[in-house]
């Protein structure tokens, strides 16, 4: 459209590539965590997630079967088996019998053991241990292999995190706690705000402009200021740290945006409809419930999504107004922070826990993106 003919196709290519690069850059980190949540602890710890799609080469230390499984063949004592046990998909490239020399032999070759005897290892992990005397001790000798293992993705992490009631790091309880916080905290402010927004948009009274200005001002007041005074208040009136407390807090903090969004939307509705209804004798209450509320559905949906995302993802308000020393009411965000402290290196737990908490907002996001964008456009103070 705004290019001169001729330079167009090259430029379009460059633009496409730039956007592709940008999108990859933005998607890459999340995708990494997503892939990691399907890998086993060993895999995550030994190789980068971007290797998960390909067969990975790993250095493994394995043991043969113990001496008690030896059989006598003629005058030889023999132990046979497979180093990889039940999972013989791996392919050995080199191997060794000493930790200082792990790539001394190729598959098919035979190595002398220090404790006597010889071992032959095949590429598929099959081995044959031969000695003229009986093997002793209760463990088989160590074999160091460099093997290429095929990619393996597992749902086990999710099973452990979500469905294992014995798991103290489990997220099931926190998931329901988050849900319990979120739903009332999303629904209640909508109703309160809708009535106020109608009054600010379509009723005439002294001080209206001042109130709208006040709402715009409160829109940016950092909620940090509210923590101590309100906690004091909640403790004073006996609500304490509880679900009721956090529902009220989220309602209060969400109201300015709700009123602002809904007022802007309602003020844009056609004046004729409302005046006709007035002439026909409808009361304000009827106009509001029968006309304004159904027409405002897009704005209501926008705010509902905002409030849902915000309450679901919130950490600070939950830490201050809900989570007490018992830890029974912890929400997912708080639990993840906890896990980052206690399980900092266990990425299979962290990645899975994080993804359990991210999944729901992502679903909402992709399903209701239209309303979210509309709300953003209306909600940023112009």
């Amino acid at each position: 459209m705004n290019n001169i003919a001729g330079s167009r196709s090259a430029l379009v290519w460059i633009v496409n590539l730039c956007v592709l690069g940008l999108v990859c850059l933005w998607l890459f980190p999340t995708f990494g965590l997503f892939v990691s949540s399907f890998r086993t602890a060993d895999q995550i710890a030994t190789s980068g997630w971007w290797r998960a799609m390909f067969a990975s080469e790993q250095n493994l230390t394995l043991r043969t079967a113990p001496p008690e499984s030896q059989v006598q063949q003629g005058d030889l004592y023999v132990i046979e088996g497979n180093l990889f046990g039940d999972n013989p998909d791996a392919v050995i490239s080199v191997w060794g019998v000493s930790s200082r020399d792990i790539d001394a032999y190729t598959p098919g070759e035979t190595a002398e053991l220090r404790r006597g005897g010889e071992i032959t290892v095949q590429a598929d992990g099959g081995y044959r241990l031969v000695n003229t005397e009986a093997f002793e001790g209760n463990r088989g000798p160590r074999v160091f292999v460099t093997a290429t293992t095929p990619p393996e993705l597992t749902f086990q992490n999710y099973k452990n995190i979500l469905f294992d009631p014995a798991n103290v790091d489990g997220m099931a309880k926190a998931f329901f706690n988050t849900l319990t916080v979120t739903i009332p905290a999303t629904i209640i402010p909508i109703l309160v705000a809708a009535f106020a927004a109608y009054a600010l948009a379509w009723m005439d009274f002294p001080g209206r402009a001042l109130l709208i200005a006040a709402v715009v001002g409160l829109l940016v007041v950092p909620l940090q200021l509210a923590l101590i005074p309100l906690l004091k208040l909640h403790l004073g009136v006996g609500i304490g740290k509880s679900y009721l407390g956090i529902w009220l807090a989220h309602t209060g903090f969400g109201l300015p945006l709700a009123i602002y969004l809904l007022r802007n939307y309602m003020a844009g509705l056609p004046r004729d409809i409302i005046e006709n209804a007035r002439v026909d004798g409808a009361t304000d209450f009827q106009i509001f419930t029968k006309i304004i509320l159904p027409l405002s559905f897009p704005a209501l949906a926008s705010f509902a999504i905002f409030q849902f995302l915000w309450t679901w993802n919130d950490l600070l308000v939950a830490k201050v107004f809900l989570i007490d020393a018992s830890g029974q009411t912890t929400v997912m965000t708080a639990q993840i922070v906890e896990l980052m402290g206690t399980r900092g290196g266990n990425w299979e737990i962290l990645a899975t826990a994080a993804f359990v908490s991210i999944a729901v907002p992502l679903l909402v996001f992709f399903a209701m993106q239209k309303y979210l964008v509309r709300g953003l456009l209306a909600g940023s103070v112009k």
């Binding site: 633009v15 730039c18 940008l22 933005w26 890459f28 980190p29 990494g32 965590l33 710890a45 030994t46 190789s47 997630w49 849900l179 319990t180 009332p184 209640i188 109703l191 309160v192 009535f195 106020a196 005439d204 009274f205 209206r208 109130l211 709402v215 001002g217 409160l218 940016v220 007041v221 950092p222 909620l223 940090q224 200021l225 923590l227 101590i228 005074p229 309100l230 208040l233 679900y243 209060g252 109201l255 009361t283 304000d284 509001f288 993802n313 919130d314 950490l315 600070l316 965000t333 922070v337 980052m340 994080a354 991210i358 992502l362 996001f365 993106q369 964008v373 953003l376 940023s380 103070v381």
Partner: protein, 335 residues
């Protein structure tokens, strides 16, 4: 009672309570207090209409006052007092502020916050503008937009986990599992870096997380603004022989200047309140402290409400110019 049931009951009580309040108070006004009948019907209707707006507004005003306006005043008061052991408060004037000013951690938080305030809004807006302009002209633009926009839905805590994996460090002899170190080593780095514990630069690695989240927001708003630019201005520039860069910087950007400013200030406010990212990733260690986390530390770890409130007031003062600007804009728009 199980919380789920309690939640359900709260929804029902909340919704029924709200609707009931509005319905009954309106009925009371119209039927009992000022009925539109009898000799004073006209006067009654006028009086009822004077009162009705306040019936509609009351619950919202009450909640706003209690949960946002009152705390501002109360925090100001708390910042000027100290708790006396055994209960009660003691007026100490500005001593909490003095004490805070003498703490190196506070100045570290201030310095970092200033850095955040410069870097994050600037880069988020720049990337947002770039993404908006580029995606506007290609066929799969909407898909690209929603993918760049996606981090908006991810919690700060979730983002912290995501980026901690990116920044992960393993000893030099092992395979790196963090992307950043893997790239760094592949480019010939000698030692894997511990990105989050190297002072000064680690703050920037935290900022990247917020930029990653906020770019989508900037992009969505700016993209709408770009589409609102009158076609003729661009066409005229093409006719005059402007190249695409000139069109972008000299024709388009000046026309969406106001929107850029709005995006900038909105992200600035988010930055001032940033807490979760720092709390989850470094907890202010290794010189990454920021004001919001400093405040949380003071309030809930050191249990020093005086200094904690004082630092909250500092955040409020920093927000103030934007608050005033927003209010003035909103009022100008209504006239």
């Amino acid at each position: 009672m199980s919380p789920a049931l309690q939640g359900l009951m709260t929804i029902v009580i909340g919704v029924v309570g709200c609707v009931g309040y509005f319905y009954l108070s309106n009925q009371f006004l119209d039927k009992v207090l000022y009925p539109a009948r009898g000799p004073n019907a006209g006067r009654n209707i006028n009086r009822a209409n004077l009162i009705r707006p306040w019936l509609f507004l009351f619950p919202a005003l009450f909640a706003l006052g209690l949960y946002l306006a009152y705390p501002v005043v109360e925090t100001l008061r708390l910042s000027l007092t100290d708790r006396v052991p055994g209960g009660g408060y003691e007026w100490v004037g500005l001593r909490n502020y003095q004490q805070m000013m003498q703490e190196p951690k506070f100045w570290e938080a201030m310095r970092n916050n200033m850095l955040w305030l410069i870097v994050v809004p600037a880069l988020s807006t720049a990337f947002g503008l770039l993404a908006a302009q580029l995606t506007d002209r290609i066929r799969w633009g909407n898909l690209a937009k929603s993918l760049i926009f996606m981090p908006m839905a991810i919690s700060f805590v979730g983002a912290a986990v995501i980026w901690k994996l990116v920044y992960d460090t393993r000893p030099v002899e092992q395979d790196q599992i963090g992307v950043l170190n893997a790239i760094y080593m592949a480019l010939g780095g000698a030692e894997p870096q511990t990105w989050l514990t190297t002072p000064f630069w680690n703050s920037f690695f935290l900022m990247i997380v917020l930029i990653w989240i906020q770019t989508g927001f900037a992009m969505v708003i700016l993209s709408a603004a770009l589409r609102g630019i009158p076609e003729e201005t661009v066409e005229a520039a093409i006719v005059d022989g402007a190249n695409p860069f000139q069109i972008f910087f000299k024709i388009k950007v000046p026309q969406i200047k106001n929107t850029i400013l709005v995006v900038w200030t909105t992200i600035t406010i988010t930055v001032l309140k940033v807490f979760d990212i720092v709390f989850a990733m470094t907890n202010g260690q290794w010189e990454t402290q920021v004001l919001a986390n400093y405040m949380f530390d003071k309030l809930f770890r050191a249990n020093d409400w005086g200094v904690g409130s004082a630092s909250a007031i500092v955040i409020m003062i920093l927000v103030m110019p934007i608050l005033v600007w927003n209010v003035r804009n909103a009022r100008a728009e209504m006239k």
